[in-house]
């Protein structure tokens, strides 16, 4: 049976769906994040007794760094859908994703600085990974700034979507800055991504925390989507009916 994918492309049908999903994602976010961190902090202390305790930053650092990168791809995906199908909802979701993406990028840089100070003895270095992550933060900020600089929403949606697509070039650079095929060719201070070498308890705790961060991002993005819908559609009859029925 063919599903009508465009059913939820209208704000009036998407809004109630978002309202239903937010508590589900938020509950999952709290359970998974706290569960992952509990596992990481209390169930793994002995596995790496020789490892210094600052490695515990890994749980939130990796989770926020991954979300920063993935959310950019998600944002571009919605922007592309918006440009192709000219659906208002796609642009709304894209712009709702940008702020959370920027927050995640900032968190990854912040937690990375504290980790760097302990393990490398420096808060910051112009290493490929850190530099590209900083550029990612600027891209998010640029997207948000461009969108708010143009008053006409249709124009600002399209312009910022194009900017987001151009900025997509940074994502593979970020990825390969720590997943270099030949490590000898990449002079990076940041260690390689080495999931296979991580102790399994730590890996599980990390992955559960990452899942929690995904759920958190879904929840807050949907919360922001609802607010943007209300801002943009406050003059429409369906919004008025919606608030009457509450």
């Amino acid at each position: 049976m063919a599903m009508n994918w465009f059913k939820y492309s209208s704000p009036s049908t998407f809004y109630p769906l978002a309202s239903k999903m937010i508590p589900v994602f938020m509950t999952l976010a709290i359970l998974l994040t706290l569960g992952g961190l509990y596992w990481g902090f209390f169930e793994t202390p002995e596995v790496l007794s020789d490892q210094k305790q600052y490695y515990k930053i890994i749980y939130v650092h990796v989770a926020s760094a991954w979300m920063a990168m993935w959310l950019y791809v998600v944002m571009v995906g919605w922007a592309v859908l918006g440009l192709i199908f000219n659906t208002r909802m796609s642009y709304i979701v894209a712009s709702a994703t940008a702020v959370t993406g920027a927050i995640m990028t900032a968190l990854s840089l912040w937690t990375g600085a504290f980790w760097g100070q302990t393990s490398w003895g420096t808060w910051w270095d112009w290493d490929p990974r850190m530099t590209t992550q900083l550029i990612l933060l600027f891209l998010y900020i640029g997207y948000i700034a461009l969108q708010s600089a143009i008053e006409d929403t249709r124009r600002s949606d399209r312009a910022s979507a194009v900017l987001a697509i151009v900025g997509l070039a940074i994502v593979p650079v970020i990825y390969y800055s720590i997943n270099c095929p030949n490590p000898n060719e990449c002079a990076s201070l940041h260690q390689e991504s080495s999931l296979k070498r991580i102790e399994s308890n730590i890996l599980i705790a990390m992955m559960v925390t990452v899942a929690g961060f995904w759920m958190y991002c879904f929840a807050v993005i949907l919360m922001r989507v609802r607010n943007i819908i209300l801002q943009r559609e406050s003059h429409t009859q369906w919004v008025e009916r919606l608030e009457v029925s509450k």
Partner: protein
């Protein structure tokens, strides 16, 4: 317990990281929730204004004009 918070001498680094994550990840949904409440209030006010306008015959002629 204090040993747990000390993190083998790295407590400052671990808790500064965790603290900022907690702070921003609590702040973001709270700000969105407050913003949502304000928007709903604004829409309700707008609706009441429109209802009041359409109920008053004297101002009914201006009902078509937009106020914000």
């Amino acid at each position: 317990m204090s040993e747990f918070f000390a993190m083998g001498g790295y407590g400052f680094y671990v808790w500064s990281s965790m603290g900022m994550v907690l702070f921003l990840m609590l702040l973001e949904p709270i700000v969105l929730k407050v913003q949502h409440g304000r928007l709903i209030k604004y829409i309700q006010r707008q609706k009441r204004r429109q209802a009041a306008r359409s109920n008053t015959p004297a101002s009914a002629s201006t009902a078509g004009q937009n106020e914000s």
